[in-house]
Amino acid sequence: MPEETIATFTVRSLRILDERGKADEALMPPLSEADIRQMYELLVLTRTYDERALALQREGRIGTYPPVKGQEAVQVGSACALFPTDWVVPSFREMGVHFTLGYPLDLMFRYWAGDERGLVTPANLNILPICVSVGTHIPHAVGIAMAAKYRRDPVAVVAYFGDGATSKGDFHEGFNMAGVFQLPVVFICQNNQWAISIPLKGQTASRTLAQKAIAYGFDGVQVDGNDVFAVYRATKDAVEKARSGGGPTFIECLTYRVADHTTSDDASRYRSPEEVAAWREKDPILRLERYMSGRGLWDEGYGAEVKRKATRAVDEAVKAMESAAPPEPGEMFEHVSATLGQRQEKQRFVDHPPAPS
């Protein structure tokens, strides 16, 4: 000492694809044309699902729904970097992650329609159930990473959450523990600028969210979240680091929630149409289309074909959802514990007998 600077920290940011669709080739990750096409198709699938979900909600065919629109690149880009053995701990607005990993669309519809059987993750996927309680799932990712490390399994655990989640105590306790134990976990924040009506500056006085990692002794990076390549690359670097024992990484993805918070919300009450319009310009799908079209990978015909395919998949999922038998009342007793107590048995069979059909 006496009065001196004892530590200096920096926060980096990454963008590969600019808003006009120009890529920085030096930073471009190795992706084949087929890879890029697949990313594009997943982006379109996610958006198509999302638009349909909104329509279904308006018709009363599913319940409250939180739209993804505008955030597809974060979800598809990051999920493309994962191995099937990796673990995913989602919040509630990552349908693009689910679909990229192969989660059935109809299951997802069933969940949003109020049927918990929609949350039975297929056996080949390690995706925890959707968690609506903001930020409280972060410690689960940390615990999974502790267990994987204990087992010496070379897997990465990825937790997704929003900017609002960074204010929760569990964000802090989880991040801190991940730092202490140098765990194979990647924290991906979809900083979509809003937590319902609270803008980022009402959420934290921190200049970036990425810098919050400084408090925990690991790396934080800010990424353009509407740039599917940047998100892919940052995630890939982080999961590889995690799998090889390099510890945690925090990735802040700058993006925007173009639609309302959920179908119960009216965002026009708290934000200006100009702000939304400016972000619409930065649409992640549009940007990739521009890039692909520059490389001759995209034209109107191909775009239309992709959209058709996505629409077909969504159509089928809606059909599957609506033809699924509704749950039996007894279903609510099925998964409380491995075995029911005496009293629950009685509640099930005496107080709540199967409805006469």
Partner: protein, 320 residues
């Protein structure tokens, strides 16, 4: 007199208390500019500004914890937890702090705090949006628990809660928010805490129910000579009113939407069974939700006590 629903009645209570006393401030997620996800605080931001309608970060524990500090300093904070299912991370602040600061400081510091939360099922919302765990808070010395069942009492009780010198958990039955309209006078009237309301007089069976179950009970008892009691305050409970009624009728049915085991119905049944045993003509019976998690939309109505199930139980009890 204006016909208001419960959202409007609560809004009016908040507005009038804020006008009356500048110590009253509101804080929570989206309570300000947005007016609250149920619009309970609509218009108050424009009227009172960001200093008194405080949009907080997404931090339930600090919302309650900061409100404790504000109360200690002499304000009368009304903290909103957006849904009861998110109050669990503020549990420590409520129970280890709000409830005990008076005791720990031997009344040097007090916590005149209201924690409001929408609660209860039947609105087809996502998980954790339909909780009814009022029993937790009834096992906390130092905390009052208040549950209105309609617009008129909601306004009067909230006024009393804000003026109460100690922490009050104020649970608003979400299903009723817009279901019922009543005449709700502007201006001062307070419904006292700790005092039950006899909603319907009767002489053959007493039915006690609170929150959104009351509405179902009223339908279920049609045709019975039933006295219906709405406790309004669960803690401290108005034992006198309930015991007097049961000593008359000799029968008690308790209805709540919380899970059966360990619900507040247990406390009522235990107390009545002990203190009115010589008057009871039938066992005290509870109608409650089963001991499972609140299901999502497709099953929630199988979970909540239905009018039929309540009526069936009343009927059985009448047969003794």
């Amino acid at each position: 007199m204006p016909q208001l629903n419960m959202v409007q009645a609560i809004n009016l209570a908040l507005r009038e208390e804020m006008e009356r006393d500048d110590r009253v401030v509101l804080l929570g997620e989206d309570v300000g500019k947005d007016g609250g996800v149920f619009r309970v605080t609509e218009g108050l931001f424009d009227r009172f500004g960001a200093e008194r309608l405080i949009d907080t970060p997404l931090s339930e524990s600090a919302i309650v914890g900061a409100a404790v500090g504000m109360a200690v300093y002499g304000l009368l904070p009304v903290a909103e937890i957006q849904f009861m299912g998110f109050v669990y991370s503020a549990f420590d602040q409520i129970f280890a702090h709000a409830a005990r600061l008076r005791s720990r400081s031997r009344s040097r510091f007090t916590v005149p705090l209201v924690v409001r939360a929408p609660y209860g099922g039947g609105i087809k919302a996502p998980e954790l949006h339909e909780e009814s765990t009022e029993a937790f808070f009834c096992h906390m010395p130092g905390v009052k628990v208040v549950i209105p069942s309609g617009p008129y009492v909601a306004k009067g009780l909230l006024v009393s809660a804000i003026r109460d010198p100690d922490p009050v958990i104020f649970l608003e039955p979400t299903r009723l928010y817009r279901l019922i309209k009543e005449e709700v006078p502007e201006g001062e009237y307070a419904v006292p805490l700790g005092k039950a309301r006899i909603v319907r007089e009767g002489s053959k069976v007493t039915v006690v129910a609170w929150g959104s179950m009351l509405e179902r009970v009223m339908k279920a008892v049609e045709g019975y000579d039933a006295e219906v009691i709405d406790p309004l305050t669960l803690s401290p409970f108005d034992w006198e009113t309930l015991l007097a009624s049961v000593r008359e009728t000799g029968r008690l049915v308790i209805v709540h939407e919380a899970q059966f085991t360990g619900g507040f119905g247990a406390e009522i049944a235990a107390t009545v069974a002990q203190e009115a045993i010589l008057y009871l003509r039938a066992p005290v019976v509870r109608v409650a939700s089963p001991d499972v998690h609140v299901p999502l939309a497709k099953l929630v109505e199988h979970y909540l006590p239905s009018v039929e199930r309540i009526r069936g139980t009343v009927d059985e009890v009448m047969k003794y």
